[in-house]
């Protein structure tokens, strides 16, 4: 019997859902089932991780711990080797805290987990796991248990190429697109979601697990590129033909999604508790901030010229920094990081800031970033600069860029070498807002609406719904008044050791110095005792 049904909606926001569950423009109610669920259940805005990005946020939702503890900060992981920086992808082995799949599994609960990021290579699980964000070429190997791929292949209409993640295509997020190109983009994501729904529906019926969790991420993809057709604040007074077509297409997506939610809730049955949450919300970003261009103009970063080979050209056009590492003191590794990594010299004459100058260099950088202005309007373009030891305290903090930028419009930075540093987009693009959504419904859930919950509360809520104790080291809580039943607190979740999670840092001098500095920062803030 499925006790707990969790539906993740990547990037869902009440800015959009409030409209789609009512009918402000006479378009009809796009999501009538969700409207009913909210009316009978409990609703709250959900505050994301300090950097509201898909991998760290979902991993926090899965582990109950902030990114400084669980260790996943971005899609892309970088390793500074002094003369060069090596980029690769974060994966499941980098998660340094136990997930709720594992916690529930070892307490006798069966689980189905579908399409969550950072779940490949797949950890052992009591049930079924299909990772998200995995290319079709690698799906079979990355499912658990063995043989699941063939079961899924037998589902009518299954097409791995439609289902899976396409890195090349998804890297177009944030680029300016004409409305017809956006239409193609939205159309592409419709069958993808249908594929995930069919797998979800089949496995919910066949497995009937205690915890059934599926994530739909078309919401995020469509909102990134078609935000101007959805945001009530950007609704044109005189909509053009192409805008109306794009809007109708987007509403069509949400209507389908509403149907998927309805069928999963009905399939789970009247005894199941249902939870919906997003990893972050969405808002409009009208501005481009080219942060590496800015660092270059300040003299802290030096660009590299690409060679002629195909690989070199691919590398240069990739969405992460391509720099002369011998002459770079600070850089933003990827647009999604919104981060600046400060390089500390491994020794005299080595690239980077001398260890002794780290604090003053960082202070200068922060002060100058906070003063960066839009030349057209004079407005500040950076809302806040987060220091890693404040925003992401924990044992894994050393893998986080030293600074995380919160732009005034919540946009993602650009890492391209294009002038000027600050410019306006032709059309505002969708970007992540720190406030996502939380909805709960079903027996034992108190109806109503609350002020903001934290994304870290969701795993506590799911554990409680499964009638399991909430691990005492979970950073969130079960909000008062959400459940009728009293909350039990139990043993802490496990720390994943070096063997199962990230490799131990290579014990060279630089990483030792780096470790010491991080320990000092944590001590200064009272996170560590002397």
């Amino acid at each position: 019997m499925t006790r707990t049904l969790f539906i993740g909606l990547d990037g869902a926001t009440f800015t959009i859902l409030d409209e789609l569950t009512s009918d402000p423009y006479g378009e009809g109610v796009t999501m009538p089932f969700l409207a009913g669920l909210i009316a009978s259940g409990h609703k709250a805005p959900l505050r994301s991780t300090n950097h509201p990005l898909t991998p760290p946020a979902w991993v926090s939702l899965m582990t109950g711990r902030n990114p400084g503890s669980h260790g996943v900060f971005d899609f892309v992981r970088f390793k500074d080797m002094g003369h060069d920086v090596y980029f690769t992808l974060y994966d499941a082995r980098d998660i340094q805290d136990e997930t709720i799949w594992s916690l529930a599994g070892r307490q006798g609960r069966r689980i189905v987990s579908l399409n969550f990021p950072m779940m490949a290579p797949p950890p052992d699980i009591e049930g079924c796991l299909v990772p998200g964000f995995t290319s079709w070429k690698h799906l079979r190997r990355n499912m658990r248990p063995e043989g699941l791929y063939d079961r899924i292949k037998a589902i009518d209409g299954f097409d791995p190429k439609e289902l899976a993640w396409d890195f090349e295509r998804e890297s177009k997020i944030g680029e300016d697109m004409a409305d017809d190109e956006v239409e193609g983009w939205v159309r592409h994501h419709l069958p993808r979601e249908a594929q995930w729904f069919r797998i979800a529906d089949t496995l919910l019926e066949q497995e009937n697990p205690d915890l059934f969790a599926v994530m739909f991420d078309g919401t995020d993809k469509i909102q990134h590129q078609a935000w101007h057709a959805l945001d009530p604040a950007l609704r044109p007074a005189e909509p053009s033909e192409s805008w109306l077509r794009l809007r109708a297409l987007c509403l069509g997506y949400f209507r389908e999604l509403d149907g998927y939610i309805r069928r999963l809730v009905e399939r789970a049955g009247p005894d199941a508790q249902v939870f919906l949450a997003s990893d972050h919300g969405f808002t409009a970003s009208p501005r481009v901030v080219r942060i590496n261009r800015w660092l270059g103009e300040k003299g802290w970063l030096t660009w590299r010229t690409a060679g002629d080979s195909e690989a070199e050209k691919r590398r240069e056009s990739a969405n992460f920094a391509y720099l002369d590492w011998t002459k770079t003191l600070a850089f933003c590794p990827t647009p999604s990081s919104n981060g600046i990594a400060i390089r500390v010299a491994r020794g005299p004459g080595e690239p980077g800031v001398p260890e002794a100058d780290y604090e003053s260099f960082r202070d200068t950088l922060v002060a100058e970033l906070k003063e960066m202005r839009d030349p057209l309007t004079g407005e500040k373009v950076i809302r806040d600069v987060l220091l890693r030891e404040q925003a992401f305290p924990g044992a894994a903090m050393g893998d986080c860029p030293d600074l995380t930028l919160v732009l005034s419009d919540y946009g993602f930075v650009s890492v391209r070498n294009v002038a000027p540093v600050v410019s306006m987009r032709a059309t505002p693009t969708g970007t992540h807002h720190p406030d996502g959504i939380f909805i709960a419904a079903g027996p034992g859930i108190a109806p109503g609406a609350s002020g903001r919950f934290s994304i870290l509360d969701v795993p506590s809520i799911l554990m409680h719904s499964l009638d399991l104790p909430v691990p005492r080291n979970f950073e969130g809580r079960v909000p008062d008044g959400l459940f009728a039943r009293e909350v039990r607190v139990g043993p802490a979740s496990r720390r994943m050791s070096a063997g199962t999670a990230a490799e131990p840092q290579v014990a060279d001098e630089a990483s030792e110095a780096e470790k010491l500095r991080i320990l000092e920062q944590l001590k200064a803030l009272g996170y560590l005792e002397d």
Binding site: P121, W136, K137, R314
Partner: protein, 93 residues
């Protein structure tokens, strides 16, 4: 592990990777990832993960194989990968 054994392991892992890709390519020492097996960058990352999983080790230093003098290599043969892994495993043993 001797070179022949490592080579066998490389063939097995790579054959497993490309099993569903609808390719006609043969798997052998001269098979090249990009030219023969249509690898893209993401496939190279997945291949590294597959080797790390197979060998139950993460610190194999694949960046040293993928980057030469700070430049990314254009293509790799399975023979080159096997030679690299053989040498890395010998160092670690």
């Amino acid at each position: 592990m001797d070179l022949a054994k490592v080579q066998e392991l490389v063939f097995e892992v790579v054959a497993g990777l490309v099993a569903d890709w609808d390719l006609d390519a043969e798997i052998g020492a001269t098979t090249r990832l990009v030219a023969n097996l249509e690898f893209e960058s993401i496939d190279i990352i997945q291949m590294v993960v597959a080797f790390e999983e197979r060998l139950q080790r993460r610190n194999l230093g694949f960046e040293k194989l993928l980057m030469v003098d700070g430049r990314y290599v254009d293509d790799l043969s399975l023979g080159q990968i096997a030679a690299f892994l053989h040498q890395r495993l010998a160092v670690a043993a």
